[in-house]
Symmetry: C2
Subunit: 311 residues, 2 copies
């Protein structure tokens, strides 16, 4: 099939979202090999670390060094996660192109995870925007709105509340907002309708879909969000980043799977699926031995039809 | 979410499509336990066997007995696979409600798999229709058009050829046609567009979508076909039925996953996901020990949001 029109951007978040929940620390040298292999496979956006207290997440302690290496790769947009004003200061100092601020649409999850209400987090976003502007930095502020499709603690999350927080985050100074389902609660119809509703309200400032494959609907949800108009997705090579509350469940949608989905549809991502599959192998063999990797297309490889079209 | 309107029918094809590729033979007593558990979980359509020469597929030799037991279950629509006129005679004699005739949209696959061209198979469909009518049987004739989205031997399969064969099968006397991707070549956009095109041409005589999850897009393809208007899907509890040419790859979409997909969307299937998950366990433990089962929702279970709605 060839329905190519607007290309899709896939941001690999493995070095942050993928590694953050693992108790092990991947040595910086390995992270840099990983980073360069991902760039060589065509990735042009990556979330490479998190500016959080090293005592809390020692596996993210080298984020400054990883950002510096990432900035040296041509054409790569470098994102980091930032939980608060102090992290934002570090992100600005690092020269990263983008800082991703977590906001939870679930009041209960926000209190449990960030120890703040959603509206207190929105206030922090405003402070971060003021800091960013005062610093003269061009570091883009993107808010990742998690539990947008339901919450393991609270259960249902009202659509009106999601829309209110999307608007509040933008009003507080975020340039972009993404909607995330980190727990595998979303179904594709919900995804399509909620993204359509938010895109109607705020246009392309709603910029990204972030899906986990916990219950097998990750790729269906990517497709549904694409149908709604989303052209940017988070993913991890090897589908790492599973939730510690759902043992054995898979994590983020796999970068190589999302790349194959869009390649099959004739939509350009700029990614080399074979290079991504080689990177997946290196991750499992060299950098995360013994860790469960996930994803799908690695089992059977690309279809012959697609091979013929790519040749 | 609740977008319930037209219910969706899921036909479990595990006792035929799931078992047929396995070298082992499941004892009839186990098949009947499986059948009854599936019925108790809410399934009201099942493909329970295949009328092929027992020397070729000994694991299907008890199909007549399984059909008889299935016909005793209230409200169950009983399908059997039939490769030729002789099989159709047996299906009619068995009292099954529906016979499923395989037709391949790929010329190369048809020759390799059925030793006939697609048009020779269409001629056989006409003979089967004449036999059925002469017998006074009400056994419905359904053609399963495989390789509709690509073929492991031939590669691309032209959409015009798919449409031509859908029309030819109906003209030859089939009451219904389904489109199948048994090799995991389909992407959801292709699925949506091809189903829309065929539904435009022949309406609800195109009655079913049959997807394998070989490369992870099975559920995305179910969603895409549903978007196009399809309201009936084949699936297997435990995702069995993998292709022998793609070792390790998963098989049919899992019944319990399709049930969860639609439950999440608020679309009624009449299925009890917990009972399906219990059946999956029994299959892996008692009836196919050592066999790889697949699927997704079994890992993490149903989301809390859905549990609350179902309660």
């Amino acid at each position: 099939m060839n329905h190519g029109s607007t290309p899709v951007t896939i941001r690999d978040v493995g070095l942050r979202d993928g590694l953050q929940i693992l108790p092990r620390t991947v040595p910086t040298a390995h992270k840099l090999q990983w980073l360069r292999a991902a760039h060589a496979a065509g990735l042009r956006e990556m979330e490479v670390g998190s500016f959080v207290p090293p005592a809390r997440l020692p596996q993210m302690a080298d984020t400054g060094e990883v950002v510096a290496a990432a900035l040296a790769l041509p054409g790569l947009v470098v994102s980091v996660l930032v939980p608060n004003l102090k992290g934002a200061q570090a992100a600005i100092a690092s020269g990263a192109h983008s800082m991703l601020l977590p906001l939870s649409a679930s009041h209960a999850h926000s209190l449990a995870n960030l120890r703040k209400t959603p509206d207190e987090v929105v206030d922090e976003i405003a402070r971060i925007r003021a800091l960013r502007d005062a610093s003269g930095s061009a570091c883009r502020i993107e808010v990742g709105l998690s539990t947008a499709f339901g919450c393991t603690i609270q259960g249902r999350v009202d659509e009106a509340e999601v829309l209110r927080l999307v608007r509040a985050a933008l009003a507080a100074g975020a340039e972009h907002v993404s909607l995330a389902d980190t727990v595998g609660y979303a179904d594709p119809l919900h995804v399509q309708l909620l993204f359509e509703r938010c895109l109607d309200a705020v246009g392309d400032r709603l910029s990204c879909g972030h899906f986990h494959d916990t219950r097998g609907l990750g790729l269906a949800n990517v497709y549904a969000a694409w149908q709604a108009g989303v052209r940017r997705f988070d993913a991890c090579v090897g589908g790492i980043g599973g939730c510690p509350h759902a043992p054995g469940a898979s994590g983020n949608v796999a970068t190589e799977d999302v790349a194959w989905l869009f390649a099959g549809m004739g939509v350009s991502t700029g990614l080399d699926v074979d290079a991504l599959l080689a990177l997946r192998e290196a991750i499992g063999r060299d950098w995360l031995p013994g860790e469960a990797l996930h994803g799908h297309v690695w089992r059977a490889g690309l279809p012959k039809t697609l091979r013929a079209e790519l040749a």
